[in-house]
């Protein structure tokens, strides 16, 4: 079973920018998959397409076999976007509870799950604090907790550690690893090559909306005859 299948995915924005061009990608269920590429490579566009946040120009997206726009597919995906996009009117607990509600959870289930998530992400002491008043690190944790509220089978993390300090990065790595060990499929985009190497079983290199290569970190090093993933990256992007 594949967690994610993209066939001929193309996205051309209204201003003419071609962000993805006929992209094919399969992510097997249970895998920790990394997407690495420079700014403007199409990583966020790809994620936005899977999560129904942009209009797809052409191609097909399936999530665990379901068409991505279907409610069945949407229930299986959790996303933590790169930018902090928290509802300014809701406090931490409400952010989680309402998100659970949007995914069909009952009030009782949503509150119980929110309490669990706040415990896991060390947010219990901030339950009644509105998102804009949280520190950057707290907001990043809340974003991740919200993505996991409805227990998705595919979790998409768009540069989850961008701009966070070293301690929080290690903490987030720990959360993400635990999630993966419980069987959740992870699709991670990152600029940090050491992060991709540390966490991902397979890494895809993307540039100009096209997939350049995909393999394990070791496989990529072999294929590019490079000593490190950084060398692989430089060679791949230069081609």
């Amino acid at each position: 079973m594949n967690a994610l299948e993209l066939r001929g995915l193309t996205k051309r924005y209204d201003d003419g920018l071609l962000a993805l061009e006929g992209l094919d990608l399969v992510v097997p269920a249970g895998e920790f998959f990394g997407l690495v590429g420079p700014n403007g490579a199409g990583k966020t566009t790809l994620i936005s397409a899977v999560c129904n946040l942009i209009r797809v120009t052409a191609g097909e997206i399936r999530v665990f076999g379901h068409a991505h726009a279907s409610n069945a597919a949407r229930r299986l995906v959790g996303v933590a976007e790169q930018d902090i996009n928290l509802d300014r009117f809701l406090d931490v607990e409400e952010t989680l509870v309402y998100h659970g509600g949007y995914y069909g959870m009952s009030r009782r289930d949503a509150r119980a799950r929110a309490a669990e998530m706040m415990e896991v992400f060390d947010l219990s002491g901030k339950a009644g604090v509105r998102a804009p008043k949280l520190s950057g690190g707290m907001r990043r944790r809340l974003l991740l907790a919200r993505a996991l509220m409805h227990e998705p089978r595919l979790v998409i993390l768009d540069e989850p550690t961008a701009g966070v300090d070293f301690e929080l990065r290690l903490e987030l790595w720990r959360y993400i690893r635990r999630l993966h060990s419980e069987g959740t499929t992870i699709l991670l985009t990152t600029h940090y090559l050491e992060e991709a190497e540390e966490l991902c079983e397979e890494i895809a290199l993307i540039r100009g909306g096209r997939l350049l290569a995909r393999d394990s970190a070791a496989g990529l090093r072999d294929a590019y005859q490079a000593d490190s993933l950084a060398d692989v990256y430089v060679k791949a992007m230069a081609r």
Partner: protein, 255 residues
């Protein structure tokens, strides 16, 4: 069936929560300002104005102010809620959720309608005992109020989706809705206007909206009730069609 539309229920609940977290701005202030209009223009200055369409002036202005307060609330609630959700990008949390486009549209639209109803109820609770305004045609008033809510809720959604800055949403309220309401017979009967202003007023869509609601209260209006309800219904249908199309196609919502 209920479970299937539970996400919609939560979106409506979120909109209601937002309204009542900000209740001094969203409900109390509009009720107070509309009631002050009744006190100042109706009870204070109204004594110097002879009856309008057979009613004391303070009674005559109640339906128009009720309409104007609800229309502005339904519009501004939805335009600001959607604009903020787009601007801060937390709209994505809703767009990614298992909700159909019509459910997202309905969820946001109902927020404005509920806020407008809260204001309308609050205003009537103060104005009816003070002025003694009657409700002579409740079976006209009910559909007229529903059409007002639908029209201005959807208009708020549309502007919320098109607005690029916060000024755009206030521009439509201050430069379009408010002047049209003032010139649509909220404070006077158009019969008192000389030609061509009387004819020009009939080109103002808000005139028909105010007339439909006024007929529900007073049993009389400046135009035929069938025409008033018909025009308001046509405008509401157009607004529903436009906002539905925007959500169904994703234009203005999704890049």
């Amino acid at each position: 069936m209920i479970e299937r539309h539970r996400p919609l229920g939560w979106l409506v609940a979120r909109e209601i929560l937002r309204i009542f977290k900000l209740w001094t701005q969203t409900v109390a202030a509009p009720v107070l300002s509309a009631f002050l209009f009744i006190l100042v223009f109706g009870l204070s200055l109204g004594g110097r104005i002879k009856q309008v369409d057979g009613f004391d002036y303070d009674i005559f202005i109640v339906p128009g102010l009720f309409t104007m307060a609800m229309a502005q609330a339904a519009y501004s609630n939805n335009s600001s809620s959607i604009f903020q959700a787009r601007f801060d990008r937390y709209l994505n949390d809703v767009l990614a959720a298992p909700m159909r486009s019509w459910e997202v549209n309905l969820g946001f639209s109902l927020g404005g309608a509920i806020r407008a109803l809260a204001i309308g109820a609050g205003l009537l609770a103060l104005a009816l005992p003070v002025t003694g305004a009657p409700v002579r045609e409740p079976f006209v008033l009910a559909p007229a109020v529903v059409l007002v809510l639908v029209l201005f809720s959807c208009l708020g959604v549309i502007v919320g989706l098109f607005a690029e800055t916060f000024d755009h949403h206030t521009f439509v309220n201050n430069i379009v809705i408010l002047p049209l309401a003032f010139l649509g017979g909220v404070f006077y009967s158009v019969d008192s206007l000389a030609s061509p202003w009387q004819e020009v007023t009939h080109l103002n869509p808000v005139f028909y909206v105010v007339s439909a609601v006024r007929y529900g209260f007073l049993g009389t209006a400046d135009t035929s009730i069938v025409l008033a309800l018909g025009v308001t219904a046509a405008l509401a249908a157009g607004a529903v069609a436009w906002s539905s199309w925007l959500f169904a196609t994703g234009r203005r919502i999704k890049p």
